[in-house]
């Protein structure tokens, strides 16, 4: 699901449009700068941050290498504690399972807490076809649901909206007075959603971590909406990617130390709910039923190579988005995917097909900022390079024929020294047309408007001209 018409296929165009949006760029600059500062301060409170990252990555590597075993262990323990575990090979199957659960129970009022997996499978659309409209209860998700948009950031989905825009939205959809005071807006949302919580008969959530040893799922949040969603209704459905499982209960400490600090600079988010099956007494608080839906949807395919397998280590903290110089300028919608930013650029092609997102692996200068901040040390630049080679090999990029030809010519030239020398002498003559002083580029109208792909370089940068005598010529003369 994408914001209006934006898809990953038109990433280049989306990015250019986003760059024109000065309000968006300002909002992104504020958000990513603030998150970056807070993250730096927060990781300073940990004695051995690097050691913690290594530990987390080692745990994830172990899980992924034995994923089948850990999933079986998790399922057995969760079922033993009273949960019902369902398996979904793809998005359609996940939606079918959840829709069936809702329909069988005659669910009329459904509340949802934040779950990227449910957006990945387009769950809301599937339920809407049954006449069920789940209300998003995370404030950011609620805002974009009212606006009919998609999230633009993993952690703060409505970061692209100003207070004024939100005030106008609430005035229109909720009939509230158009005040852009944040406390007032928040109170309006709280008020509107409280009734929905009170009468909800089905709650749908995501899962941050699933513990194989005990069958426990962990959900973290700041607002309290996930606690309400998973405690008040009589049925709770939790959708999780199969990569969310971790081996032992004690491993939670490692990830809880890493995730909040990396994502928002908090030591801990306000609430963590650790749920192991259903309530033990019928008169206790909590749902009667817990349904866990384990989602593959392309994840198992990523296990086939170490370089792609590490994609599954992601804990969805959002740190890479905040650090990425590309994301910082264009925001999430330009990626045309529910998963934006650096991690989105690598998992979107793998989950949804490289043929639909061939431009995304190129949305990077390979600066490595993402790899630096990733709490589980995912080597995103290596993944981007791997995906670029897949784009070329599969022809998914639509074939840069001119580029392929240029590289073949280059290869030919490099293998034949006399050809290389001749080409250099020719280039030295031709460049006189384009050079201005000691530069070739913007100063000369001819050079600046060169045919792409060369024009893409000279439109923004200068080239140094070739020297009057090459090194080889000088060397030969000295002998």
């Amino acid at each position: 699901m994408t914001s209006s018409h934006l898809t990953a296929e038109t990433f280049d165009r989306n990015a250019r449009a986003a760059l024109q949006d000065t309000q968006l760029r300002g909002a992104l600059r504020n958000a990513t700068t603030l998150f970056g500062e807070r993250r730096r301060a927060a990781i300073g409170t940990v004695a051995d941050w690097e050691g913690l990252r290594d530990q987390a990555r080692a745990i994830k590597d172990d899980v992924l290498l034995h994923l089948d075993r850990y999933l079986e262990e998790f399922t057995a323990n969760a079922e033993g504690a009273g949960a019902t575990v369902h398996w979904a090979r793809d998005a359609a199957e996940a939606c079918d399972v959840i829709a069936r659960i809702a329909a069988e129970r005659g669910a009329r009022s459904v509340v949802k807490s934040k779950s990227m997996a449910t957006e990945e499978v387009h769950l809301n659309a599937a339920l809407a076809r049954l006449g069920i409209e789940p209300v998003e209860t995370d404030l950011g998700e609620y805002i974009i649901q009212l606006a009919g948009e998609t999230p633009s950031h993993i952690v703060v989905p409505a970061i692209h909206k100003t207070k004024a825009q939100i005030a106008a939205l609430f005035a229109e959809k909720l009939g509230t007075a158009a005040s852009d005071d944040v406390a007032t807006l928040t109170a309006a949302a709280r008020q509107a959603l409280r009734q929905r919580f009170a009468e909800a008969d089905l709650g749908i959530s995501g899962v941050n971590f699933a513990v194989a040893e005990t069958g426990t799922i962990l959900i973290l949040e700041n607002e309290g909406n996930a606690r309400l969603t998973t405690t008040l209704p009589r049925t709770h459905v939790a959708l999780m990617g199969i990569e969310k499982v971790i081996p032992r209960f004690e491993d939670l400490a490692v990830f809880l130390e890493l995730l909040p600090r990396s994502g928002t600079g908090q030591r801990l988010t306000t609430y963590q709910s650790l749920l192991t099956g259903t309530k033990r007494r019928p008169d206790g608080e909590g749902p009667e039923e817990l349904h866990l839906v384990l989602l593959d949807n392309g994840r198992s395919r990523m296990l086939a190579r170490p370089v792609t397998r590490q994609s599954l280590a992601c804990i969805r903290c959002g740190a890479c988005l905040n650090a990425c110089p590309v994301y910082q300028q264009i925001g999430g919608h330009a990626y045309g995917s529910v998963y934006p930013g650096p991690i989105g650029a690598v998992i979107t092609p793998q989950l949804f097909g490289i043929e639909h997102s061939a431009q995304l692996p190129y949305a990077s200068s390979l600066c490595g900022a993402c790899r630096e901040v990733c709490p589980v040390k995912i080597d995103i630049p290596a993944l981007l390079l791997h995906l670029r080679s897949e784009v070329i090999e599969s022809g998914a990029g639509g074939g840069h024929r001119l580029e392929a030809l240029a590289f073949r010519a280059y290869g030919l030239m490099m293998r034949h020294p006399r050809l290389f020398a001749w080409a250099t002498r020719l280039a030295r003559r031709v460049q006189r047309l384009a050079r201005v002083g000691d530069r070739i580029g913007k100063a000369n109208p001819l050079a600046a408007r060169l045919v792409p792909p060369l024009g893409a370089w000279t439109a923004w940068r200068d080239l140094r001209p070739l020297a009057p005598r090459s090194f080889r010529e000088q060397w030969r003369d000295r002998r």
């Binding site: 950011g140 700041n222 593959d296």
Partner: protein
């Protein structure tokens, strides 16, 4: 139409197949983008081993904000961290003092409809002389959902505290009314100071569902760090979104 077991076997088979593929591929030759083997150390002209970039440890965060070594007692650290996240803390000596403190908090908050958990540490507030009617606090027994949603304040216990983050931990087997810590706009939590652990890891060891299946006592363990909050609107902090707007922690300094 395929049965539910089909998806399970299909997914597990796919996983095993891909992992086998990966093992075979790695056995045959190293993958192109796998991390390279550690490079030999460069040696200068006079035979000295030169330092490489990885040897230099850049300080993380400023010197001022790095506080890895814990200072003070667990109680002191707990209070410091809890205040940092916006929770109000008070230490009291006994039940009577707890009751007085809670009465003061409720009066200051203008809370008229207050419900209280029946967990041991909180029970005295609704039972015995001077309790219940005196405080205007009712027992949670028989509280309907409608009544819960119009409560001004909820009083619960907490089973553990985490000093390094100022966090309260509630176990559903022992604190059976955690909705009182979530629905009303004011939450008052009673915690014994003897239950404050140093770190998150310590608490996890104590709440570990040691049994299996239905033997696990507490199906829900809840960690609470400060009042409810969000920064979803222009990254501006707003307190009290869906959960409580105010969190008061009454630390009882007695063996319970």
């Amino acid at each position: 139409m395929s049965g539910p077991g089909d998806a399970r076997s299909a997914i597990l088979d796919a996983i095993r197949q891909r992992l086998a593929e990966s093992a075979a591929h790695e056995g045959a030759h190293g993958a192109p983008h796998d991390p390279p083997p550690p490079a030999a150390r460069p040696i200068s002209g006079n035979g000295k081993v030169l330092p490489v970039l990885g040897d230099v440890k850049f300080p993380v965060g400023g010197a001022l904000d790095a506080q890895p070594a814990a200072m003070g007692t667990p109680l002191e650290r707990f209070r410091e961290q809890a205040s940092a996240v916006g929770a109000a803390c008070e230490v009291v000596r006994n039940e009577a003092a707890a009751r007085e403190t809670i009465a003061r908090i409720l009066a200051a908050a203008g809370a008229r409809k207050v419900a209280c958990s029946d967990a041991p540490l909180a029970r005295s507030l609704t039972r015995g002389a001077g309790a219940g009617g005196g405080l205007g606090v009712r027992d949670v027994a028989g509280l309907t959902r409608e009544q819960l949603f119009v409560c001004d304040a909820g009083v619960t216990t907490a089973q553990w505290g985490i000093a390094e983050t100022g966090t309260l931990v509630l176990e559903s087997a022992r604190e059976r009314h955690r909705l009182l810590s979530l629905v009303p706009p004011v939450h008052i939590a009673l915690l014994s100071t003897s239950r404050i652990c140093a770190t998150l890891g310590d608490v996890l060891a104590r709440v570990h569902p040691a049994g299996a299946g239905r033997d696990v006592e507490s199906h829900a363990i809840t960690f609470i760090t400060g009042p409810s909050r969000t920064s979803d609107i222009e990254l501006t902090l707003a307190i009290g979104v869906h959960g409580p707007q105010a969190l008061h922690i009454v630390l009882v300094d007695a063996e319970v």
